[in-house]
């Protein structure tokens, strides 16, 4: 894991690392850096698609509840309007679309990120607490196909890292 002092150093290093062929990498910074997610290869996630499915279930479900209650099971004449009086059903349909879509997005972010995960080996590195204050970190995982302890360390050094540390996974202990 390499430590950087400036945010554009991290961004630059992340782009170089990705270009070098490393894929299993992660970056940590105290604030969002524009373009960093793309730099470490986070081009595509499944969250939007799952959210779309959630939104469609919410919308169709919301309309279906109105329709089954107002037009089929208990037809109610409201001021001579048709039983399936769609304009009146839109607000709830819309609200349920948003509700289910946002809940799906929230839950799927948790699931795809394998949260809650209470501990991660990077916390074994003492300096890492500064990732939420004023330092920027780039992590290359050991199970990356390109990973080689010496070569990766030399490479990270060549990127101008302030400090390089080796993160030990607890499983090996």
């Amino acid at each position: 894991m390499a430590e950087f002092i400036e945010h554009d150093q991290l961004l630059h290093a992340a782009r170089r690392t990705y270009a070098e062929g490393y894929r299993n990498i992660d970056a940590f910074s105290p604030f969002p850096i524009e373009g960093l997610a793309e730099a470490i290869g986070h081009e595509h996630t499944n969250v939007p698609f799952v959210t779309l499915i959630g939104g469609m279930i919410g919308g169709l479900g919301g309309y279906f509840m109105h329709w089954i209650a107002m037009a089929r099971l208990y037809p109610l004449n409201v001021g001579g309007r048709p039983y399936n009086s769609w304009p009146n059903f839109i607000p709830i349909t819309f609200e349920l679309t948003i509700l289910i879509a946002s809940l799906t997005a929230f839950i799927s972010v948790f699931i795809f990120n394998r949260l809650p995960e209470l501990h991660h080996p990077v916390f074994n590195t003492p300096e890492f607490s500064r990732a939420s204050i004023d330092r920027f970190f780039l992590l290359i995982e050991a199970d990356d196909p390109m990973f080689n302890l010496d070569r990766t360390q030399t490479f990270l050094k060549s990127l101008g890292a302030h400090k390089i540390s080796i993160v030990e996974s607890e499983a090996e202990e």
Binding site: E34, G35, G79, R81, P87, N88, I90, P91
Partner: protein
């Protein structure tokens, strides 16, 4: 701006003026063929181009107050757009001669026979209408001219005072825009119907104006993206931000338009329904369906995708579509008051917007030529260059 593009804009300006004059001449012939149709076509065309200028004013004040990287490359297009307002005041004059063709409250026999129109007569009469329109337009021309003056003075000095002055106008400016715009929408369109009123209507008109100005500025960016000063600051981020703004205003427009309809549908009162009954009569309902499809559904779903917002071609296509749909929407607001039973398209519905539009563009391009394409020394401009994506 270099000499070559200067000449290119000058040529476009003369072409626009020629097209505009030809269109206007044809429309004037129409005035003697079918006077009532002429006034309605003219009102529709005039209101569309006026709404573009008004929208440019509103968007400029929004950017002066909130900033955002989308605003600096588009600023000069918006400024040139609202500097056409003095022309719009002149083009308003023909409408003053045709009020009794357009508005029920301007026909004495109808006012005499109708209690509501009679009671409204103290406010809704020809003289007051003309006084109000001149007042509205003069207020907007005054604020717009000041915004432009401060923006140009900022070009000449590194001191931030002119931008502070421009912001000082923009705050009250956007409030006055909302207030006077609501009154104006009552005069321009709402009172075309006999008794109809809706408190949401002013908002629908104003949001439409702002949406139209955003769409217009995206199209202008696409046309001028090769010019060196604009190419230097333009990247995916501005398109992304403008795409998000288009999405937001498409949603806002849909929200207020549908909200108005839902309330009137639920209320089911005769004096409120007349508006919609004329606007779904006969083939008008297909115009409404097209507005719902291409002013909401298609742009809404496509603008959800980041790929459609970050790239010039899809975003420009969507913006051009929204711009055209805003013309159709204005047509659908104005024209059913005349053709109440069915859609009836006249050739003047084409010559009038082309005529006014040509003259509008000639003025717009002459204003665009008068200043650098990117404002200089604006204190926020530094942010336009940082974080540029590769």
């Amino acid at each position: 701006m270099n000499e070559q593009s200067h000449q290119r804009i000058a040529r476009a300006q003369w072409t626009a003026l020629l097209v505009g004059l030809l269109g206007t001449a044809a429309t004037i012939v129409g005035a003697f063929v079918n006077t009532k149709q002429f006034f309605f076509s003219y009102l529709f065309a005039f209101l569309f181009w006026l709404s573009l200028s008004m929208g440019c004013f509103a968007v400029t004040t929004i950017h002066q107050l909130t900033g955002g990287r989308w605003g600096w490359p588009t600023r000069r297009f918006l400024e040139a757009g609202f500097m056409v307002l003095p022309l719009m005041l002149v083009l308003f004059i023909p409408i003053f001669f045709g009020l009794h063709y357009l508005y029920p409250w301007a026909r004495p026999d109808e006012v005499g026979a109708d209690k509501v129109l009679h009671d409204r007569h103290a406010y809704q009469n020809g003289l007051w209408y003309i006084v109000r329109q001149i007042f509205f337009l003069l207020v907007f021309i005054g604020m717009a001219a000041r915004l432009r003056v401060w923006s140009l003075r900022q070009d000449a000095t590194a001191d931030a005072l002119p931008t502070r002055r421009a912001r000082f106008i923009s705050g009250p400016g956007i409030v006055i825009y909302g207030l006077l715009g609501t009154f104006a929408s009552v005069d321009w369109i709402m009172s075309l119907e006999l008794h109809w009123y809706s408190t949401m209507f002013g908002v629908i008109v104003l949001i439409g104006q702002i949406l139209c100005a955003y769409a217009f500025s995206v199209v202008m960016l696409a046309l001028f993206k090769g010019e060196p000063p604009i190419a230097a600051v333009l990247d995916k981020t501005q398109y992304h931000q403008l795409g998000n703004l288009l999405l937001a205003f498409v949603l806002f427009w849909t929200y207020v338009s549908f909200g108005e309809f839902l309330i009137i549908y639920s209320g089911d009162l005769p004096h409120e329904l007349e508006w919609y009954l004329h606007r779904i009569a006969g083939n008008w309902k297909f115009v409404l369906a097209a507005v719902a499809a291409f002013h909401f559904f298609v742009p809404f779903f496509l603008l959800l995708f980041r790929a459609a917002k970050k790239h010039a071609t899809p975003l420009t296509t969507l913006a051009a579509m929204l711009f055209v749909m805003h013309i159709v929407h204005t047509y659908w607001l104005v024209m059913p008051a005349f053709h109440q039973q069915n859609l009836a398209v006249s050739w003047m519905d084409f010559t009038a917007p082309i005529g006014i539009g040509g003259i509008w563009f000639a003025f717009f391009l002459s204003r665009l030529r008068a200043a650098p394409l990117i404002p200089r020394h604006d204190p926020g401009l530094q942010f336009a260059f940082v974080y540029a994506e590769p």
